[in-house]
């Protein structure tokens, strides 16, 4: 993958040199040869457009087809390769399994149990729900399962995030994730801006209003150019936003799901800086549970089954 990246970079650099060489041999006739169509029919169309141009429309351009192969395609390919590289980096950064003391997991499990009872209490008859409701509300409010530190203090006293290894780990994790996003994007943006500044790459096949000019023609200071023309830097921005479906196709959903589940499980152990204290959360959950209304799935079950299958 790195080899492909370097190769595409070298190709583009070579082409940049060619363009510079051509600009040095600047002649008005060469410009004409590049932008004015040879075909008489296209010329007629150009005149027609120019006629309308007086009423506000832009002049039709003809692009060198080599732009597609040496600018549009390399930018797209590099963006996809960088996306793949970023995915690999993120996978490796997230591989570390979060661990903690067992009593911290127990604390999280009781919070989960309360939420499960609120959500799935409909599966129980009223008496069973009420017994659990009373017991759990009491236990959570008393703080019986709040994790204690080895010294016996409550674990959730707010400490200095820079001295707590768990918190600094969480902060480093966030910082690494952000850097893995920002650094490649900054590098590619520099690359596109440096080599392809002011390039017009393609024309969209559908009409657009003048509002799209800012979005699609970044780096081109022409007031009259049709909004359908797309500049290199704009193509970069469009690729940043629009490549997610391609990544989904490349990486498949199963691994993403598996990673997502793993992260979700690990998230329970992470204590993010500034997160509310566990005993406070438990008391809130105890209140939520105490006022939860019970509605049983067994109400009118006979009628439901008869209606479903009879």
């Amino acid at each position: 993958m790195s080899f492909l990246f370097v190769q595409s970079f070298l190709y583009v650099w070579k082409y940049k040199l060619l363009i510079c060489q051509e600009l040095q041999d600047f002649e008005p006739t060469s410009i004409k040869r590049r932008f004015i169509p040879n075909n008489p029919m296209e010329l007629a169309s150009l005149w027609a457009t120019a006629g309308i141009g007086s009423a506000g429309a832009a002049v039709e351009l003809t692009l060198d087809p080599r732009f597609k192969y040496w600018v549009l395609l390399p930018i797209s390919v590099v963006m996809i390769l960088i996306g793949v590289l970023r995915q690999d980096i993120m996978m490796n950064l997230n591989l570390k399994v979060k661990t903690g003391p067992r009593n911290k997991i127990t604390e999280q499990q009781y919070m989960g149990k309360t939420q499960a009872l609120i959500a799935n209490g409909t599966n129980l008859k009223f008496e069973s729900f009420r017994d659990r409701q009373e017991y759990l509300s009491q236990v959570l409010a008393s703080g019986k399962y709040v994790a204690k530190k080895a010294g016996g203090d409550d674990a959730e006293t707010t400490g200095n995030p820079l001295t707590d290894p768990n918190m600094s780990d969480a902060m480093m994790g966030m910082a690494k994730g952000n850097l893995a996003n920002y650094i490649p994007q900054t590098l590619i943006m520099w690359w596109v801006n440096h080599f392809f500044a002011g390039f017009v790459l393609m024309k969209l096949p559908f009409p657009l209003t003048i509002k799209f000019k800012e979005m699609l023609q970044s780096g081109i200071l022409t007031a009259d150019l049709d909004p359908r023309w797309v500049s290199a830097i704009s193509w970069y921005f469009i690729s940043v936003v629009g490549l997610n479906p391609v990544y989904n196709l490349l990486f498949g959903n199963q691994d993403v799901d598996a990673m997502g589940m793993l992260q979700q499980q690990q998230q329970q152990l992470e204590s993010m800086p500034g997160a509310p204290a566990a005993d406070g959360v438990m008391k809130n959950l105890a209140n939520d549970l105490a006022i939860a209304q019970h509605e049983s799935c067994f109400d009118k079950i006979e009628q439901r089954v008869l209606k479903l299958y009879a």
């Binding site: 499960a116 089954v305 008869l306």
Partner: protein
């Protein structure tokens, strides 16, 4: 290939191989081994590792100790030895190569010295369950239940522990406690129709045993069976108990005939096992 992959992954997720009859275990072992030899391009790395784990268990069941050791070493090379499943596999290999006492000692030390202070969400639980499964033979029922209760207090969201407790209480004849444990499972897994049926069954036995409030308990039992068949239309056990209980309770003729109709359908359309059982139940009704 896709159908095979899905089948193996479903068997792994449901752990069906742990309760399958011996001939099916041998068949599954051979099929899985052949499948893993042919490289399936659509099999993700995670799924491949899961199937390797299942192959390890099947090797143990089939007495292929050397092959199991090779799989264990392969997974150890890939993940290192500090991994939840590898702790359990190592204990299994100790049971195979040495004895239960060594494995028990290893797991107990791991729990006390390491996992109590530094564990992920799976490790402590898996190692504790493995330790309990080894100890089960040497512990009395009371002691075993007490160990299970300790574990369920530490991990109240683990359905397996609650199910094991329910089974123990049921065998000990403590039906109310068994029902309580099954209700805990239903709070964790709200669409578990098998658990609804198990709860209904426990309540049915309670109604047969205790004469006091028999009708109410039978109604509760019927409700649970109805919920199980609402979730799974072809669940034989659910319909069988619906037919039985509606035959006892008054004013349930419509449900009784519906249950009989469904049993007839299962008798006609299901596989040989369900067909045979449905036929016997229909004859008895």
């Amino acid at each position: 290939m896709e159908a095979l992959r899905k089948r193996f992954l479903t068997i792994y997720e449901t752990k069906f191989f742990s309760i399958a009859p011996p001939n099916e275990i041998v068949e599954l072992y051979n099929e899985l081994k052949a499948y893993l030899k042919v490289v399936d391009p659509a099999l993700s790395q995670t799924d491949y590792m899961s199937l390797m784990h299942m192959l390890f268990d099947l090797c143990i069941y089939n007495g292929k100790d050397i092959e199991a050791q090779v799989i264990y070493k392969t997974l150890e090379d890939r993940f290192g030895d500090n991994s939840p499943y590898l702790h359990v596999m190592q204990a299994t290999m100790m049971q195979v190569n040495e004895n239960d006492v060594t494995a028990e000692k290893y797991l107990q030390e791991l729990l006390d010295r390491v996992l109590e202070y530094d564990t992920d969400i799976l490790d402590y639980l898996l190692v504790s369950k493995k330790l309990l499964s080894i100890r089960k033979r040497s512990l009395s029922r009371e002691k075993y239940i007490s160990e299970l209760l300790n574990l369920s207090e530490k991990f109240p969201l683990d359905g397996e522990t609650w199910t094991a407790l329910a089974t123990e209480y049921l065998e000990a004849g403590q039906l109310d406690r068994a029902a309580f444990c099954l209700e805990e499972v239903l709070c964790i897994a709200p669409f578990n129709y098998i658990c609804f049926a198990q709860l209904g069954e426990v309540l049915y036995y309670k109604a047969l045993r205790d004469k006091k409030g028999k009708k109410d308990v039978l109604q509760d039992s019927l409700n649970n069976f109805l919920r199980s068949v609402e979730l799974s239309e072809t669940y034989l056990k659910g319909w069988a108990f619906v037919a039985k209980i509606t035959g006892i309770l008054d004013g349930k003729k419509a449900l009784h005939s519906l249950a009989k109709k469904k049993l007839e359908e299962i008798n006609q359309n299901s596989d040989s096992h369900d067909h045979m059982i449905a036929k016997i139940i229909l004859d008895k009704l």
